[in-house]
């Protein structure tokens, strides 16, 4: 339905469940993709399964120098970066009263500051091209809050404010900046929950099930598409009705 032929996309956290699904969806729509993450082996595996138009650039998003270099390396591999998907994220959960400065800083660095630096790094090319798409993966907890996730929720809410500000600045240049906010999604992380925990979570989700990574990828694909050119500064909530905001 959406055609991204000739577009080049950089996806961070592509070795994860959601990142991998996003990469596959954009690639299936015709885009070239650069898969980024910290672990090279799973990225190579994914690139091999996608076939042509798939590149791998590893980067530790906690390291400012590596973050600065990533857009340049991706542009070298593909020719440009037309679509940036800020998907990489970490958690360092702890009760607020016990949370260390380091737990706070790590989550803010990787989840928020790296997204700022990556967006800044890809803007020049997008401005010249008069076309660009920046999509950040946030979370339902950025809107609702969640006990034990003060740092994570702050970073995710921060992405929303950052995206809206940037969206205002560059809308006249054909660049859109949006967020996709997943609820509970079946990934390696939620696989670890036991049946009781899962049952408790499901009582809060009107859809009665967890979401799938490809349902997040579909939202990203839409926001990355030419058809979504009039959507900017928005957050698309994909959470089975868990939070209707």
């Amino acid at each position: 339905m959406f055609d991204l032929t000739g577009k080049n996309a950089l996806i961070t956290g592509a070795s994860g469940g959601i990142g991998g699904a996003v990469a596959a969806a954009l690639h299936a729509a015709g885009a070239s993709v650069t898969l980024s993450g910290t672990r090279e082996a799973p990225l190579r595996e994914l690139a091999a399964s996608l076939g042509e138009r798939a590149h791998v650039v590893t980067a530790n998003l906690g390291d400012p120098a590596e973050v600065e270099a990533l857009p340049k390396k991706a542009a070298e591999a593909m020719g440009s970066v037309d679509i940036l998907v800020n998907n990489a994220g970490i958690t360092r959960d702890n009760l607020f009263m016990r949370m260390s400065d380091e737990e706070w800083a790590q989550v803010l660095d990787v989840n928020l500051t790296s997204s700022f630096r990556l967006a800044r790094g890809v803007l020049r090319g997008m401005m010249k091209a008069r076309w660009g798409r920046i999509v950040s993966i946030t979370s339902v907890v950025g809107t609702t809050g969640n006990p034990g996730q003060g740092n994570y929720a702050a970073a995710k809410a921060g992405l929303v404010g950052m995206s809206k500000s940037l969206a205002s600045e560059v809308a006249s240049r054909g660049i859109t900046v949006n967020c996709v906010a997943p609820g509970f999604i079946e990934t390696a992380m939620t696989d670890k929950l036991n049946d009781d925990q899962k049952a408790r979570i499901l009582t809060q989700i009107p859809a009665g099930r967890m979401g799938r990574a490809d349902e997040i990828a579909a939202a990203v694909l839409y926001l990355a598409s030419p058809e979504a050119g009039y959507v900017t500064g928005a957050t698309l909530h994909v959470n089975g009705g868990m939070a209707m905001v």
Partner: protein, 79 residues
Amino acid sequence: MSDIADRVKKIVVEHLGVEEDKVTETASFIDDLGADSLDTVELVMAFEEEFGIEIPDDAAETIQTFGDAVKFIGQATAA
């Protein structure tokens, strides 16, 4: 120098869509030529590419007029 001025003028005219005779020595990009703040960033990017130079942010802030741009680029390319 006149070659630089011509090339700068061409970029300004193309980017801002203004008449060539409006681009005078003292013409301010923002006050006289209708640029917004993002236009000025884009102009600096275009100058960097046209002349193969780096214009640091603090220098870019001092480039307010067409004359400022020609003067700065003249110095940067002479160095």
